[in-house]
Amino acid sequence: MSRPEAAHAHDAARQHPPHLSPARVLDLDPLLDDPSTRIVVCCGAGGVGKTTTAAALGLRAAERGRKVVVLTIDPARRLAQSMGIDSLDNTPRRVKGVEDHSGASRSDSVEGGGGRRAGGELHAMMLDMKRTFDEIVEAHADPERASAILGNPFYQSLSAGFAGTQEYMAMEKLGQLRAKDEWDLIVVDTPPSRSALDFLDAPKRLGSFLDGKLIRVLLAPAKVGGRAGMKFLNVGMSMMTGALGKLLGGQLLKDVQTFVAAMDSMFGGFRTRADATYKLLQAPGTAFLVVAAPERDALREAAYFVERLAAEDMPLAGLVLNRVHGSGADRLSAERALAAAENLEEPRIVDQEGGKAGLRNSPDTYDSSESAASEAPAPDAGSPAVTDMEHTAATDEPQPATPHLERSVDQLTAGLLRLHSERMQLLSREQRTRDRFTALHPEVAVAEVAALPGDVHDLAGLRDIGNRLAANRPELPDPAVGA
């Protein structure tokens, strides 16, 4: 950790009492503004808000002046609708309603210049796996061969999205978008993979398959069939195809062989592009963001990601921690809140049992335990209503005029305290989980996003998330508290 970053983290911690322990703070605006940042990849386990994070980052970068394309894999329907990408045509569409927050004067020139520029644009697209695969075939094979491939039953199943295809096609599409060079920033959402890392493996796996002996075996009957001098090899080969035939059924093997033969000419291209995309991911213009929520499983996956990205030499920018909870009253512990709630509820039960309300003010010990400087309840001269209440409280027997209201207020207050107690338990659980991650990976910078009560499905919501990402501190959604 370098000195200025440490100072930054410390500063942020002092200004806003952290709800989670301080770690390196991930500052996202410089990353988004830096013209040398060309690709941002959001990865993480399913259900942590990856797609929303990708979309919010894309919108923020566009509103700060960059020409951005967001590639999403499987966005929630309403989010897709709000961005106008709910129809699948596999090409980026310009998103309407993007504002110019760049602060620079509007100009047509987007080229050059650092930092904030005017004229940002947001484009978005949703990946259509099958369409992407078809396009590759159409682009790289002559029409006759292309139609043979597209009509092959084996190909049709493969392209419709079995294991690995989605990951591979996402990377393929990323390579295509980058090659077009129409956008100066590409934000990619990764597929909700089984292992969540298949997108890293897909190009390699395909490459090793294409380089492998299996291809030669599959092509054996067609290629080595008649050649003299290959007889010994050929016997081995036909034993293999025999075994494969036995396993797959003769007709499927034939489909596979026809498919492989038809694809043969394209394999070189596949491999070259798979390698190129893999290298692109390692390039300095790429930044990986691991997205997680402060939950055990999500952070365990995140830790795994961090290690895996390091092993693959992929540049990690940091961790985006979504759905972090905060409290404006975090001085009041869960235990004390609960004890106070019980204290408020107690007299009611006593009342029902026979009107003995004498326990009401007994636990004054809580007050003294709080701090030496704790104020004793004193009448507030400016507010007669409060004085009245104070008087009521000081009396053992409830006043005949107000017992009903007072009881409901006490009941409500007890509820508020229980709610707070739950919130504080959640906070400490989140903190423990987060500490475990930080202990394991202290080098990873973290941006926290406060939890929202509901889902995001419009640009205003995405903009809000973007602000929270950049502000990097949990805030209660209620504006009254933030103000």
Binding site: G47, V48, P192, G212, K213, A329, G415, L419, P477
Partner: protein, 325 residues
Amino acid sequence: MSRLQVVSGKGGTGKTTVAAALALALATEGKRTLLVEVEGRQGIAQLFETEALPYEERKIAVAPGGGEVYALAIDPELALLDYLQMFYKMGGAGRALKKLGAIDFATTIAPGLRDVLLTGKACEAVRRKDKSGRFVYDYVVMDAPPTGRITRFLNVNDEVAGLARIGPIHNQAQAVMRVLKSAETAVHMVTLLEEMPVQETADGIAELRAARLPVGRIIVNMVRPEVLDAADLELVRSVPRAAVAKSLSSAGLGGARRGGNAERLVDPLLAQADEYAERHALEHEQRAVLDELGLPVHELPLLAEGMDLAGLYELAGELREQGLS
């Protein structure tokens, strides 16, 4: 009660936890269940706080009343070699295929073969009998792929049976489909009371029904307790701040006057109540959406202490009480 219980749900809803609790609940009173993991994440081992599971059926828990839970993490590659050996005595050829990269190909790239092996292994466990002709496992619970992929995953054998129109794979695929589409199977969906998971649950159920796969129950996980009732939520909008400050003060939380410790708690506590009210309203809407799906809906509580082994037994007890086992 179906003997194969498949548990799916959107990522992050806790489907592994629910699957494990269900396996535990079904094992209660001397039954034996097998909990199957198909996604290679070792989530079951983590949940039961044991070391990573090998590709073998091994006892991981004892249920109340003497039942047993076995667990199996299916490795597709080993399952394929297993399968070759078992059905075709092709151990040697299997090794040769592995050398060629064919096993890797078959289990990762070949369309659906991986899923055929995973579902095939689970169905084999469902049908397996001991020497006396009794089922080895009373129930098999599968921690299945998430909602977005569950229909394709379970239906893969239909697709493969169509691709491979003859041969052992075809027969195997047909046999698996007979189990999956029968009353022997029930597919449960785990969700949270949030918009996206509920929407995915509704979509997933529609897909399962279209593929004529047997849909079981909806299990709402991590349901937060009701802390404020309707009357409280009504009152929270109109209650004088001073009255709350006063009440807090009387509970021993400091002074109620302006700037006093109790008084300063009022705003944040009311803000948290507003948040609660908003979430409460959203949850109410989502419950209504779930109710319209026409399936039994069960709710499991959010465990305040987080998920651990004790919590798992608690959830299993809850499932039993609600009649899921």
